[in-house]
């Protein structure tokens, strides 16, 4: 195992986060009841996704600046796991919405926009697979990656806030981002973000090494 410490850290943090999420005192809030604990699973997926997709975009820029194939590999693998987190975020969101909003998909701006983001990033993978030449694929998909990230920010963080939305944190509704996260939730929530993100990075590191072996075998 290469560089063990952060993987041990990841497992330790996640163990703490899962135990904390299930066992620590949670505020008693109407409508949400015990489901407030989803905060440490559903919301952390989206935070993790944003971190991973930001890294993906940074590697796309670094690829464009240097032309180093390694950065292209990082970029696509960060995007892959970012997409995985987004899918998990959407599914967990639908499960939660079924309970809290009455139906799994209510066409809420936040839901629709995150689905659009997911499609944009799926198109990134399709685009990559449709180009055979390594350099061309790297360059075109890096540029698309930057554009996709530029679309992600308004779609997830600006547009849902400008209309009425059921989702917390948008349009002044009584969901729970509208409640200030309090310190007893934060001591689990923030570590959980770090933990899930590290798990994502771990997956990415495995996939990157897999790709390197693949490339070595092809050469």
């Amino acid at each position: 195992m290469e560089k063990k410490w952060w993987k041990i850290l990841c497992v330790a943090i996640l163990t703490y986060a899962i135990l904390g999420a299930l066992l620590f005192d949670a505020p008693r809030l109407n409508i949400l009841n015990e489901t407030i604990r989803n905060l440490h699973f559903h919301v952390t997926m989206w935070f993790g996704m944003i971190i991973l997709l930001t890294a993906s975009m940074v590697y796309a820029i670094r690829y464009l600046r240097t032309g180093n194939q390694r950065f292209d590999t990082y970029s696509v693998e960060f995007a892959n796991v970012g997409i995985l987190f987004a899918v998990l975020g959407l599914i967990t969101g639908a499960v939660w919405a079924n309970y809290a909003w009455g139906e799994p998909w209510s066409g809420d701006p936040k839901q629709n926009n995150s689905a659009i983001c997911l499609l944009i990033y799926c198109a990134y993978l399709v685009l990559r697979n449709s180009i055979n030449d390594d350099q061309q694929r790297g360059r075109i998909s890096a540029i698309y990656n930057i554009l996709a990230f530029a679309a992600l920010i308004p779609l997830l963080f600006i547009l849902p806030r400008m209309t009425d939305s059921l989702h917390p944190g948008n349009g002044g509704n009584p969901g729970f981002n509208a409640y200030d996260l309090d310190s007893r939730l934060r001591i689990v929530f923030y570590p959980a973000i770090i933990g899930w993100t590290l798990l994502g990075v771990w997956m990415i590191s495995l996939r990157v090494r897999m790709r390197k072996i693949q490339q070595a075998l092809e050469d």
């Binding site: 163990t15 066992l23 002044g172 509208a178 771990w202 090494r209 072996i213």
Partner: protein, 86 residues
């Protein structure tokens, strides 16, 4: 230094934008017994059954990750050795 400063400034602005229009969670929310929670499940300890199951699943996933990583390390060594020889 400049970089660190700009990141901090950005985080500060985000925090300001984020903390508007929020309803605070107070200590009372923790005591508000009018809101139904899974108190029975907690008091009779059945929550630990859930905790145990979730932890087993988590441990299984991590075990699988480690096994996969070991396998990849082995293959890595083989492939790179071959490349070194040829």
């Amino acid at each position: 230094m400049k970089k660190i400063f700009s990141v901090l400034a950005l985080l500060f602005c985000l925090n300001l934008a984020y903390s508007q229009d929020k309803i605070e969670i107070t200590a009372e929310d923790y005591e508000n017994n009018a809101v139904e929670m899974a108190d029975t499940m907690r008091s009779n300890g059945k929550i630990y059954v859930v905790v145990a199951v979730v932890m087993v699943v988590f441990a299984g996933i991590i075990f699988y990750m480690i096994q996969t990583e070991r396998k990849i390390t082995r293959i890595e060594r083989e492939v790179l050795k071959e490349k070194g020889n040829s």
